[in-house]
């Protein structure tokens, strides 16, 4: 028995030699570079290439150690006898190189074809260029941008360098958490921005890294979120479209957000404290260690993935990988050979080409299985539903395949259900019973209601319920509710600016959205006026209160929990400055507001009646005497659907579809500018109204510990301040 477990493979001996490198035919699958007994297996696809060379460098070296062709004359192994060889199966070039010190090397490919070469700037279907060394599309680690912001040698011909990774890791029993979607509270964040600011207290060498973030997990626990959504962590080039400011002696502009993928299988080395070790496995280990620790603390991880385009840009763009490997396969091209630009960034990945589709699926499977990632949020996901010529598909193969994929079977899939080509699919994204959406309509509705636009009560009632008008048949978990995200104003600016102020981006304030549904509360930008400051803080509390009592999946933007401003900039994609770095000192300076946010999150987690996976039915199906949700105005049971005021009551006996028991919850939202008396719905005998939150009150009377709320003096009615939200809990007097 024991011997049979140790049977030696018979395919570890070389068949050929090339310049003293021992090689043998490889395995086409898996694509990329894989450690196999005795060596490294290389495998790369190209449909239109007729020639491929494996180029191996010493790590960091500029001149190759060797260039091994996949077809040509070799030496028969252990002889001096020349022999013809071709290492290709179908359209896949594959060979195993034996005795390689995989830690000490980097590699790429040269690929050529019989097609005429394309000129930069000109349209073309094929862009093969054998003078370029190409990044492996399946590489699991990438060198060249190992330390964030450390300028590379711009003259080096091979900028983004494939590395080889040990995929082993001691997970100590960890596995994805599989928290039900309806129970998530998501925190959208940027890895570097989270701990880069000196106020984070993280050592300089680990500030802005996965390791730095891991050290701050106790903070995430304190805040109460149970899911982090990381803005892109796939390898990207922070120097893409960068601009150096000679006067300030710093980078005025960088690709800070990272929505421009270089490699879909590789973590961003510059986000790893170990990046400087130039060891791809260490970078992978560091991210895995972060995931394991998040899971230990009950926090899931969503990756914001960018499959709609790559960093190679348009006809003028650099050749990094895909365009040199098989341009016509990887990209959507016009009949003339120009790049379609549904992403707004120059090119569009050809997601419904079968090869590219497989690559996307392979990448996601890799992150789910090797990194234990719990969920994915797809940037400009509508592109994933377009055919190779850009037409929206009724039944997009990629979206369907992802929905039914066995390895991704328990991963949450979240779409940004629009693209830059004008396709807007919020509420109509092909879901296959799996996909959720960033609900942009929720954002717009809540913003308009909070700033006092009249006639929004009907829309807000839908938003509060998880947007059944959009997601009937799918349930409220199809709706990721947010008011702010990385795109657009953050919360402090939403209540401090009427207009964007993006001058720092160096584009004459032309970039960024113009329609923000924001209101500055009477003064544009910073002010010392205490009345305006108080109103702004109240408005932020109103937003947080509504967001966290809405059905669906709430998402909070990093920094909004303690009201960090970006000074009116609603498009900070390019700023690696304090404007984007979380200023931890605000947690104490705005502690009253921060306390309100943490209590609101705790309130949501304490009340299952707020977290149903099914839509409310507006009936009493448990015999409690109350329907699951009822609508009210300043008079109980009489909502005013045309004004600025709305109240609702949830009956706790209907929590989780009647399978859980909870309190009554009553929420009065008065977005009128004056205080108004609200008549309260009468509770069953023995049940009393208690005040959980009242945004018109100063801290700490604005919010109470869930479970220890003070009883309301007048059980028949309450006065709700102007532009304020009041949340009551109806519980038995004995409790």
């Amino acid at each position: 028995m024991g011997d049979s477990l140790n049977v030696q493979r018979i395919d570890v001996q070389p068949t050929h030699e090339y310049q003293h490198y021992k090689i043998r035919p490889g395995n086409p699958y898996p694509f990329g570079a894989s450690l196999v007994p005795g060596g490294v297996n290389f495998s790369v696809f190209s449909h239109h290439a007729n020639y491929c060379v494996l180029v191996i460098f010493e790590k960091g070296g500029q001149e190759p150690l060797v260039e091994i062709p996949f077809r040509g004359m070799f030496m028969k192994a252990s002889t001096e006898e020349p022999v013809w060889g071709e290492f290709r199966i179908g359209n896949v070039f594959t060979m195993t190189v034996l005795d390689l010190d995989h830690e000490a090397i980097e590699y790429g490919f040269r690929i050529d074809s019989g097609f005429p070469s394309a000129r930069a700037g000109q349209p073309a279907f094929h862009r093969f260029d054998a003078t370029k060394v190409l990044l492996d599309p399946y590489t699991r680690a990438i060198g060249g941008r190992d330390v964030w912001g450390q300028a590379p040698n711009w003259n080096a011909p091979f900028q983004h360098r494939s590395r080889i990774v040990f995929d082993d890791y001691d997970w100590e029993g960890d596995r994805p958490l599989e928290i039900p979607l309806e129970d998530l509270v998501v925190y959208e964040m940027h890895v570097r921005g989270f701990t880069r600011h000196p106020s984070s207290g993280i050592d300089a060498e680990e500030a802005g890294t996965f390791s730095g973030m891991r050290q701050k997990i106790p903070y995430l626990k304190e805040l109460g979120v149970n899911c982090v959504e990381l803005m892109p962590v796939y390898e990207f080039d922070e120097f893409e479209h960068s601009r150096w400011d000679e006067q300030q002696r710093r980078w005025a502009k960088m690709n800070y957000w990272g929505y421009s993928t270089v490699g879909f299988f590789s973590p961003k080395a510059g986000y790893a404290a170990t990046g400087r070790m130039r060891d791809g496995t260490m970078v992978a280990d560091e991210l895995k260690s972060l995931v394991k620790e998040l899971h230990r603390n009950g926090i899931e991880i969503i990756l914001d993935v960018v499959f709609n385009h790559t960093a190679e840009g348009n006809e003028q763009g650099p050749t990094i990988s895909y365009r040199g490997i098989d341009n016509a396969t990887y990209y959507m091209l016009t009949p003339e050979g120009y790049y379609y630009n549904f992403s707004g960034t120059g090119n569009t990945l050809n997601c419904n080409n079968p090869i590219v589709r497989d690559m996307v699926i392979d990448a996601l499977r890799y992150w789910a299985s090797q990194y234990h990632v719990d969920a994915f949020r797809f940037d400009l996901a509508s592109i994933l539903g377009r055919d190779p010529w850009g037409a929206p598909l009724a039944n997009p193969p990629l979206l369907e395949a992802l929905a039914y994929d066995p390895i991704l079977g328990k991963c949450k899939l979240i779409a940004e259900a629009w693209d830059a080509g004008g396709l807007y699919q919020v509420g109509s994204f092909p879901a296959y019973g799996r996909w959720a959406e960033w609900n942009g309509k929720y954002r717009d509705t809540l913003r308009r209601f909070v700033k006092g636009d009249p006639g929004e009560t009907g829309a807000i009632s839908q938003a509060i319920q998880g947007s059944p008008q959009l997601y009937q048949g799918r349930g409220p978990t199809a709706s990721v509710n947010f008011v702010t995200c990385h795109d657009g104003f953050n919360l402090a600016d939403l209540v401090s600016y009427n207009d964007k102020h993006n001058e720092a981006n160096g584009e004459d304030n032309r970039d960024g959205a113009n329609d923000n549904a924001s209101w500055n509360c009477g003064w544009e930008g910073p002010t010392e006026d205490p009345a305006i400051l108080a109103l702004r803080q109240r408005q932020m509390k109103n937003v947080m209160a509504m967001l966290l009592v809405s059905h669906g999946v709430p998402m909070i933007l990093m920094g909004d929990e303690f009201a960090q401003s970006k000074f009116g900039n609603n498009n900070t994609y390019c700023l690696d400055t304090e404007i984007n770095w979380l200023d931890w000192s605000l947690r104490h300076r705005n502690q009253g507001y921060y306390r309100f946010v943490t209590k609101m999150i705790a309130f949501r987690k304490a009340h299952p009646v707020l977290r149903s996976k099914d839509f409310l039915r507006h009936t009493d199906y448990v015999g409690s005497g109350y329907s699951d949700i009822s609508w009210h105005g300043t008079r109980a049971w009489q909502p005013d659907w045309g004004g600025r005021v709305l109240a609702f009551m949830l009956c706790g006996r209907h929590a989780k579809g009647g399978t859980a028991t909870d309190d009554f919850i009553y929420v009065a939202m008065n977005m009128y500018w004056d205080a108004l008396p609200f008549e309260l719905p009468r509770l069953p005998d023995g049940t009393r109204w208690r005040v959980f939150a009242n945004t018109s009150m100063p801290s700490p009377e604005d919010v109470f510990e869930p479970g220890s709320e003070p009883e309301l003096t007048d059980q028949a009615g309450c006065l709700v301040g102007g532009r304020s939200v009041m949340i009551l809990v109806g519980r038995s007097a004995l409790q």
Binding site: E103, F166, D170, S211, A273, T274, M282, E286, K288
Partner: protein, 112 residues
């Protein structure tokens, strides 16, 4: 690679010299494993190791695991700042007990 070994009063002091990486890790691992006897106490002194690659980290972890399986104990001593930083960032540090000096206090063995 050079690995100095000395047995001093029931404690085995193992001191590798040079980088432990993909090239040297297998030899280092094999040498050290030869000294992991049941109930042994081993001080792995990394004073003269300048760099520990991911292969090196794995070798050290495998040694630690082998020691555990034999009820032996391993502590790491004199680990330089860079290696400690890498071990911390990658999560490997959590598996080990570290000492600043090879003069390991008796109480340390209880936690190893």
């Amino acid at each position: 690679m050079q690995v100095d070994v000395r047995d001093d009063g029931g404690i085995v002091f193992i001191e590798p010299v040079g980088d432990i990486d993909g090239k040297t890790a297998p030899e280092f691992q094999e040498t050290v494993l030869g000294h992991v006897q049941p109930s042994a106490r081993i001080v792995l002194n990394l004073k003269r190791v300048g760099f520990l690659s991911s292969a090196g980290l794995r070798a050290v972890l495998l040694i630690y695991r082998e020691a555990k399986s034999k009820a032996a104990k391993v502590v790491l001593a004199e680990v330089n700042k860079d290696i400690r930083g890498s071990m911390s960032a990658t999560g490997f540090l959590a598996f080990f007990v570290l000492c600043d000096s090879v003069q390991v206090q008796e109480s340390i063995w209880e936690t190893a």
